[in-house]
């Protein structure tokens, strides 16, 4: 099967998913208790303002028509306007995207640097103390509430030791050094959680591959164990881990909600929380829609990577 055909097939499956995602996000608005126009008007209880909102958002039209109007605007890149500062949500999102991407890339780097070697080591020393320790650390990474870990790291590295800033963000083009110091702690916080997932999957994949016949053959040929593990086994074990990496990256793009809040990093997560706290529903819908779309597209990328990395699929 050619790559183009494979991608085309996957896209055909993704379209209904994206359609339902849009329906779900549109429906959020309908969950607002009472009259949505009154809720959207917020503090202003002026009947004229409520009527204006009702007309402006077409709330007096049937729900299907409302969805159609909303969707047509979304497809044109119009995600509405923030109630708070009257700026277009799409513009706000575009400004936050580089920050969120940087945080996701740095967190993924932390996760890969910790997760993959720990998984390989754990599988190579199956049942030994290293395996047990790596498993405990991985499970801890999965169980620790990230926002608490963030607070604890601030307490240690910012408050007690004074080595790193407690919060805030400096763009890399302004001062790269300060950028790295502001992004380090949040990346460690987010990276440890993903590292736990990566470690467990790498370990699982390695254990499967290490039991394979060709690995036994390599050992029988007296290939040094280090080469067996790192060259013969790891290359194949990494195939599922690559796809997992793409999926986890998608999760990082939108899952950094509380971490961004604690470290005052102005990305998607903080935008979502600010939107929630200010009852700025257009912002909440916009962030969720863009995060979900990015997540779906990264899942597609994961499938493509899997296809490219797996020669058996290409031959099918």
């Amino acid at each position: 099967m050619s790559l183009a055909l494979y991608v085309a097939r996957r896209v055909v499956v993704l379209l209904p998913t994206l359609f339902f995602v849009s329906v779900l996000i549109f429906s959020l608005q309908k969950l607002l208790p009472g009259d949505a126009a009154v809720a959207l008007a917020g503090e202003e209880n002026d009947p004229a303002a409520v009527a204006a909102i009702r007309a402006r958002y077409h709330l007096d039209r049937p729900v299907v028509v409302q969805y159609g109007i909303w969707m047509a605007r979304v497809l044109r890149g119009d995600l509405g306007e923030s109630l708070r500062n009257r700026l277009p949500v799409a513009e706000l999102l575009a400004a936050k995207l580089p920050v969120t991407v940087e945080l996701a890339v740095c967190s993924m780097t932390v996760a890969l640097v910790i997760g993959i070697p720990a998984g390989v080591l754990s599988a190579a020393r199956r049942g030994g103390p290293v395996d047990v320790a790596a498993n405990v650390v991985a499970l801890s990474g999965l169980s620790v509430p990230h926002f608490w870990l963030g607070i604890m790291l601030i307490l240690l590295f910012a408050v007690r030791l004074g080595w790193l800033p407690a919060s805030g963000y400096v763009p890399p083009w302004e001062d790269l050094g300060r950028n790295l110091t502001t992004i380090l702690l949040p990346s460690v916080v987010l990276g440890t959680g993903v590292a736990g997932v990566m470690m467990r999957h790498t370990r699982g994949a390695m254990l499967q591959v290490l039991d394979a016949d060709y690995v036994r053959t390599a050992r029988a040929k007296s290939v040094p164990e280090r080469l067996v593990v790192l060259k013969h086994a790891l290359r194949n074990a990494l195939i599922p881990v690559i796809t997992l990496g793409a999926i986890e990256f998608g999760r990082l793009l939108s899952g950094a909600v509380l971490t961004e809040q604690i470290f005052a990093i102005p990305g998607f997560g903080k935008m979502l929380v600010d939107g929630v706290l200010n009852r700025d529903y257009a912002v909440v819908q916009g962030v969720v829609l863009v995060s979900a779309t990015l997540y779906v597209l990264l899942n597609l990328l994961a499938d493509v990577l899997y296809f490219l990395a797996n020669p058996r699929l290409r031959g099918a």
Partner: protein, 293 residues
């Protein structure tokens, strides 16, 4: 015992595998995790008898006092006893771990059975809907729902339950679908069993084990989700105690009163870790093929 009875019971005795509970308790980590979860449940249920102080009573003479004889884990920004608030806060966490799982199970079992056993366009529709929900990360769904439903512990639990739903539906449907291809289902069908009877009597018992494992893992995720929502002010409302809202208040006094931040987080960590260990151990005990993977 007659010969016939002996003959009937013999294979069962010979082939008996240790019960799931025994297999579970053979693992020291699982035993320790079960003990932590049990202790957590006991403390939450017996909160009025265990907590040394009223969890919402303010005492302005004891504001942000460090741990001492009088207040074992110190006091908070308005002089409330941290230990008492932790004990009472366990109730919110316990509810948040049980109610969303119950919501997810109640909705997912019929939906999963319907989707898995009926197939066709209905299956397609349910699966596309779960795909769409799975495209939005769990915590984001919970936050967005809680934000639109309005801040309260009940709404937070409903939001977490709905956010957990797609994983349960997929699991129930996938397992149900696998079971429907088994020969004994074919036999039941050829004997004239109705679709509903097959689904309830033959398929349902087989989807319980994977749902049980998922319940334990989701309970862990739900504790973190409730703490996260309460941290954002979308869950338990003040002055009622919750570990998440305690952490929110603690954030402002990290320098003056670090104990306010340390203990609630440790509690969440301990209970989530215990639930995750139990989930892993349950999976290994119920599905030995997955062991060690």
């Amino acid at each position: 015992m007659s010969d016939g009875e002996a003959a009937l019971s013999l294979p069962a005795v010979q082939g008996r595998r240790p019960s799931v509970l025994r297999r579970l308790l053979r693992r020291p980590a699982a035993t320790a995790a079960a003990a932590v979860v049990s202790a957590f449940v006991v403390v939450a249920v017996a909160a009025p008898h265990v907590a040394p102080y009223d969890p919402i009573k303010m005492d302005y003479r004891a504001v942000r006092k460090a741990p001492s004889e009088a207040h074992r884990l110190g006091t908070d920004e308005v002089g409330r006893d941290v230990l008492s608030r932790l004990v009472w806060g366990a109730r919110a966490s316990l509810l948040a771990s049980v109610v969303p799982v119950a919501i997810a199970l109640t909705v997912s079992i019929p939906l999963g059975l319907l989707s898995g056993c009926a197939g066709g366009w209905l299956d397609g529709l349910i699966m596309r809907l779960t795909d769409a929900m799975l495209a939005i990360p769990f915590l984001i769904v919970a936050i967005a729902l809680a934000a639109f439903l309005g801040p309260s512990l009940t709404n937070a639990m409903i939001a977490i339950g709905i956010a957990a739903l797609p994983t349960f539906v997929r699991l129930a449907r996938g397992t149900a679908r696998a079971v429907t291809t088994e020969e004994y289902i074919e036999s039941a069908r050829s004997l004239g069993c109705s679709r509903v009877r097959i689904a309830v009597r033959h398929v349902l018992p087989n989807i319980v084990a994977p749902l049980l494992i998922q319940s334990s893992l989701t309970a862990a995720a739900a504790v973190i989700a409730e703490a996260s929502l309460s941290f954002l002010g979308l869950g338990q409302q003040p002055p009622a105690p919750s570990w998440g809202s305690m952490l929110n208040a603690a954030q402002r006094y990290l320098v003056q009163a670090p104990w306010m931040a340390i203990y609630p987080g440790l509690m969440i960590f301990a209970i989530v870790m215990a639930l995750n260990v139990l989930g892993d151990a349950l999976r290994d005990a119920l599905d030995p093929r997955a062991g060690g993977q």
